[in-house]
Amino acid sequence: MAYFVLLLGVGFVLGGLAVASNPSPYYGVVGLVLGSVVGCGLLVSLGVPFVALVLFMVYLGGMLVVFVYSVCMAADPFPETWGDWRVLGYGVVMVLMLIVGVVFVGVECWKTWVVTVDSGSIFVGRLDFSGVAMFYSLGAGMFLAAGWGLLLTLFVVLELVRGLSCGAIRAV
């Protein structure tokens, strides 16, 4: 069962590689969707389904949807694909740099076990539910800070895209 978690880890790395070596933003979004789906599967296998659902809803259902229609605005009508030799060259060079770095740091390949939520003992009150619920009790200050930051970002975005003659970014 631990090997399944490590397989999901390999899928996560492949998603990151797909985003990094993207020939066109369309394929980068595919890699990001793959990475987030596999990352959610990883978190569910480790025993924290609530945080995985938060990731699905906020990241995949909120942020990536906004990215998808921005990509539709900003990308080419005739994109490159992964069959081009330049894109493959980029991917191979990045993987080689990663392997050099990892060999430098050193990986203990015999540690194929995975620590899950139930490694200590079995709990009735689950770790992720009771942890995130602290946003409403002891972490109320963090909650208010995050809400204030999100409200501020709304006004920042409205100022940046206002346009006409008094917007924030003008090249003329």
């Binding site: 990241y59 946003f135 895209v161």
Partner: protein, 98 residues
Amino acid sequence: MSLLHLSFYSSFILSCLGLAFHRTHLISALLCLESMMLSIFIALTILPIEAQTPSTTLTPVFILAFSACEAGTGLAILVASTRTHGSDHLHNLNLLQC
């Protein structure tokens, strides 16, 4: 480093390299930033699992909220530069005129 830590470490490094070597589009760099944030989220979620401390589960949710702010701001900059330069190609962003 255990093998599970190697997976999000590798994904973070690959996304950093993708951000450094981005080629044509500004939005490719923004996608690499999002991938970096995703690997940071997974790493911060593995912390409460391995240390068995529920209160550190707040950290990934908090950072997800601020990453949504950052993604929105980056996309607003992308829209503004597409509106003035006509596309989001990076070789068009040259105020230096050289």
